[in-house]
């Protein structure tokens, strides 16, 4: 991972049209400003993880198999 040190008021560019500015830094965290093309999806990482995990959780086997797996967990076998 590329690591850069920037202060409040400074920014970086990703390519020609994505700018990430550090607006404010305090003990609570860093406030970032992002200027990017409208079609670019920008997500907090934990939301991306949650979305991926939900897609995986949405696929489950039928009732009989779920029952079987759940019983196994309860027995710990």
């Amino acid at each position: 991972m590329l690591v850069l040190r920037r202060r409040a008021g400074e920014s970086i560019f990703l390519g020609d049209d994505i700018e990430i500015a550090v607006l404010e830094v305090n003990s609570q965290g860093a406030k970032l400003g992002i200027r990017a093309p409208r079609e670019l999806v920008i997500l907090r990482k934990e939301l991306k993880v949650a979305a991926e995990q939900n897609r995986a959780a949405a696929v489950s086997p039928g009732l009989t198999e779920v029952t079987e797996i759940f019983r196994k967990i309860q027995k710990g076998s």
Partner: protein, 150 residues
Amino acid sequence: MAELISKKFGKLEYQEDSVFLFPQGLPAFEDEKEFVPIENPDTAGLVYLQSAKTPELCFLALPAGAVDREYQLEVGRDDLAALGLDTHRQPLPGAEVLVLVLLCISADVPVTANLLAPVVVNLANRKAVQAVRSDSRYSPRHELRQEDAC
């Protein structure tokens, strides 16, 4: 009584006031705003969250406390506001809110629970959010062991 079709359970009748209402849906399922909680005597403790509009969509969940007895809830202010709760303090699990964690269940891999993003339901108005934590205290893929699912 209302009716829905579930791929897992077939045709189901449910009380409209039992529905969990997700005003913003869930991440990756933003259009899914109504889920009906179903319990099955064969898998007591397990909660099936059946989408009211999509027969194929049914999440499996456990109360967070059944997976981790010490689970510390941390709901952000935006989520508290969406639930219609006091934004200055954490709600009381069991008394004010129901806290469920979604499971990944398949035959050949260990069952995991998403402790990073619990589903939180306000028991007073049935409003619900998936409260994605911004800290890294809990895993989105916490493996269930024998002593967990009781």
